[in-house]
Amino acid sequence: MIKLTIDGVEAEVSEGLSIAGACEAAGRPLPNVCRRAEETLPGVLRLSFVEIRGRDGVFDARTEKAADGMEIARDTPRLKKMRERAVRLMLAKHPPECSVCEKAGECLLQDVCFELGLSSGDEGVVTPLAETEETGPLVRMHPGRCILCMECLRFMRDVAGTSELALSGKGAETRIVPFVSGAFSSPLSGNLTDICPAGAFTDGSSKFLTRPWNVERKKTIDVLDSFLPPVFMDVADGRIVRVTPAPLPDGRAGMISDRTRFGVDGTAFGRVDRPYIRVDGRFRECSWTEALMTAASKLKEAEPSRTAAFVGSTADCESMAALADMMKIIGSANVDAGRFYARVPKRAGRWRFCNTAAEDVAKADALLIVGADPEREASLMNAAIRGNPMPKALLGARAEQNYACEYLGDSSDVLNELASGRHPFASVMKRARFPMLVAGKSLWRRSDARAVFEKLYETCVSFGVVKDGWNGFNMVGVSAGMLGASELGLVAETPLLPKAEEGAYDVLYLLGEDRLTRADTGGAFVIYQGTFASETAMCADVILPGAAYTEKRATYVGSNGTAKSTAPVLPPPGQAREDWKILRALSEYLEKTLPYDDLDGIRDRLGALSAAFVGSPEDGRTLLEPVSKEGNLSDEPFSLSGEGDDNEVCRRSPSLRSLKKIRKENNG
């Protein structure tokens, strides 16, 4: 412990602290403006100065160590003046365009100036307005506003792992330059807009739509990223203008993938907002009563075994449960997940989920990737993987990795060799204390999926990927919709779709399913309940408009196996309604009313169906069970081909589509 005096008050702090740390510890921290600047941008704004009695000049409170007997002054008039002048220098080249800058209102530089009472840089210095760089439609760059804090460089280098930003020139000509054609390639690039303290990176999707002080900020979760990250959605003029990450529990700024940030605009276009029925081959607007009566009469008329229901990518757990209950009441067992990329049965247990907690990834010391593209399928987890310098190897289609990763080929023989320990990388995994295995959703698509998982089980056990106190198995890329259907047991052993195609059903009930075509329906009477005027909706006979995930309180199952609830951010458009309520109403017309009247009722029902919904999911560290012991590994190579977006919202999002197009062009 050392003794020092801060502004005339004696304090005792532990040794080895910086002056700033000592002031903090003594309960007499530096002025707010310094702390705010230092928290976000240590050392850049050069504000944290203190005076030390008996020593000339001023000292940087961050770098100068506190010593015994120091007498520190935190906020003398001289220091105030100096801070003001330091910020003035920073403003010297910063264009005075707050009135048209998108960052205004949440800009660190602006806040600092406000606290110091500054409105402009050095008098008489004319600064040009900011030009923009060609960095794509979503992350816009205005180098003129840059204050060279270099946080973006650090982020791109250390977290995103691409070298698309660099520093060029020196002296007064120093600037950040992007090496980008069209758009940043990293799926985390949107975070630049949060990191930048001065408006050099702004969110292109919310450009000119609103100002930060005009929005209503609502906290919810995003379901486009299957990790269900908590986000803030900013609403202005009846639309969601921006999505930003909610801060982490420890107060640090969060991070979200571009999918989460920009994909939400998919819910704004091409919606069905009122019920329709098909009359003489054409759609006619109708009332809810008429639509529900038509649907109910068809369901009643049909032989129960000749009715079937399919759930799709945008369906939430409440409505899926209600649909399953309704089908059971009318006597049909034909409920299945629709056209997903990965069909994941409930009995796959923890094989469906990411079992390694985000903070545990740093602990891992060897990694095997099988048939996955972590950068696209689990961007945030990939950032954590990247930050861990463990040996890594990839088996499967060669996806571009932003870290050193040994490529083991795409042959299924390699998996055999790994499982039997003959492969050189097997010894690396065996030596590791916390080995990790990341598998991709593409494995579920294989005809020999069961055999593959049998092999993976062998591998996991022999490598110690799964053992007491550690579960290093992670399945990435399976969408939240699929995980929900799986958790509710709606994924049938043998897919029902081929039967529907053959005409085995007279009535099809589609919930949130937008990927079926007329050929798939086999001429059945189609009831479509969902959000989009998609191709599937166009071949329906009755359209029941549902609410999107931003418009209802609904439950989704995340990649780690826990269920989370969204919060309504907008009202549903037009006459669209929450999905479980539509099914509840329909059951009344079927004269077989479902036994729940409110959200609590349906959630109780969910809880009865699976423990995951009552907030006590199975322990993430429980041992995996082998999936099955049938079938042999085929020699089909591991591939990512045929992969695409499960989620209809993402597929329809104009932002993500333009991003995809640009990235595709860049890749030739």
Binding site: G43, R46, R85, A86, R88, L89, M90, A92, A172, T174
Partner: protein, 416 residues
């Protein structure tokens, strides 16, 4: 004046032969190595402490103090870096030193490394010294062949591996941490982070080449001989270069504390047009404030005397400016240098240097106003106070010194 017998740099002008090992040995290099390597590092450290040797670099710290602190730093592996990043206009000593006295430098490296327990050293030389780098590399190879560097030097068990690191052309590398980043392959920028002051993660001792060249003589001729040269607190000799408006620009070795006028008159043949034609002298490279004739008359060339007149010894490179030269133009050129050489990391130096240049440029070209001089003064104060590294402070000092002595010259140039 320094007696020839007391000179350390016997060949700084290259007149006494080449830089080969044989020729260097003939001049006395490496002669005492076998002797002093038998002593313990502690004994040698004491000798250096008694000699009162001060670093010839920016901070002029007592070398022995610096070493005893460094020796205490806990690490199994330590580096020595000799910073030969001489790039300040007017300073041209390291070049001759590498060219003609390479072996003296290598011997100095060996002594510093031996005392501080270092086994790996780099000489960081700016890349444009291509010829000098070649000479230096040849000298290292020769010394290794002769068993004076490498493993088990002169069978005393001491090891030192030395190599030359070519630098880019960044003035900011005079800041140690920026130089380390440059050596590690990054963009040179001062780094005050947790590991900022480490090279490849290990503690590192940085020295000016001139300091190291003093060491062999200090050890062979004794501390008392060294401290008898110069004045108390400013012991020893130093290389001075004199350039600008003098009859014979030169590079000489002299005791610290020699009167500036002696240096100019006796070695450089006097100011062109006589002493009366002198306008100002920049005493130690352009980062030291210039001094008007009245001060130059009496001032002595040592750390304390020059500090007392608010200037500094700096690199010991005098730039003599005659009355025929355009002082404001020179100031403008100095400001331009710092504007271009600011690394760009901290806004204070980056923008401060730019604004200072803009103001001086405006005044020099007759566009300026009197109020600009006030702004210039304020800028100097701000930049000096808040800059992150010594480069920002260096940039300010010549300007504030100029304002102190030659404000009227600027006022004359103003529009109003």
């Amino acid at each position: 004046m320094l007696k020839d017998a007391d000179r350390i740099f016997t060949n700084i002008d290259g007149r006494s032969g080449g830089s080969s090992l044989a020729e260097a040995k003939a001049r006395g290099c490496w002669s005492g190595a076998a002797e002093y390597l038998k002593k313990t590092p502690r004994e040698l450290l004491e000798t250096v402490a008694r000699s009162g040797l001060r670093g010839r670099g920016m901070f002029a710290r007592k070398t022995a103090e610096k070493w005893s602190e460094f020796i205490k730093r806990p690490s199994a592996f330590k580096y020595l870096v000799v910073s030969v990043n001489e790039s300040e206009p007017g300073t041209c000593k390291a070049r001759s030193l590498l060219r003609y006295e390479a072996h003296r430098l290598l011997e100095g490296c060996l002594i510093a490394a031996y005392i501080c327990g270092i086994r790996r050293a780099y000489i960081y030389v700016r890349g444009v010294f291509a010829e000098e780098i070649e000479i230096l590399e040849n000298a290292i190879a020769e010394a290794e062949r002769a068993g004076l560097l490498g493993m088990n030097i002169l069978r005393t068990g001491a090891d030192l591996h030395l190599s030359v690191h070519r630098g880019g052309e960044a003035y900011v590398c005079r800041t140690d941490s920026a130089m380390f980043r440059s050596m590690e392959g990054s963009r040179p920028m001062p780094d005050f982070g947790a590991d900022g002051e480490k090279l490849f993660g290990s503690p590192v001792l940085v020295h000016n080449p001139e300091t190291l060249c003093m060491l062999p003589s200090v050890l062979t001729r004794g501390a008392d001989w060294f401290s008898s040269l110069g004045r108390a607190g400013n012991e020893g000799v130093r290389l001075f270069s004199v350039s600008g408006d003098v009859e014979r620009p030169c590079l000489v070795e002299e005791t610290l504390g020699i009167p500036m006028r002696d240096l100019i008159d006796k070695y450089a043949g006097g100011v062109i047009g006589g002493w009366q034609n002198l306008a100002a002298v920049i005493p130690g490279g352009i980062s030291t404030p210039c001094l008007p004739r009245e001060i130059c008359e009496h001032v002595r060339m040592d750390y304390d005397s020059l500090g007392a007149v608010s200037s500094g010894l700096g690199t010991g490179a005098l730039i003599v400016i005659g009355k025929s030269s355009d002082l404001v133009g020179i100031l403008r050129r100095i400001a331009l240098f710092f504007k271009n050489e600011s690394c760009g990391e901290c806004a204070v130096c980056r923008e401060g240097c730019r604004l200072m240049f803009d103001l001086i440029d405006g005044i020099a070209s007759g566009r300026g106003k009197r109020s600009d001089i006030g702004r210039l003064e304020r800028l100097c104060e701000d930049t000096e106070n808040a800059a992150l590294c010594p480069v920002g402070i260096s940039a300010v000092r010549p300007v504030s010194g100029f304002l102190r002595h030659f404000r009227t010259l600027l006022e004359e140039r103003c529009r109003d």
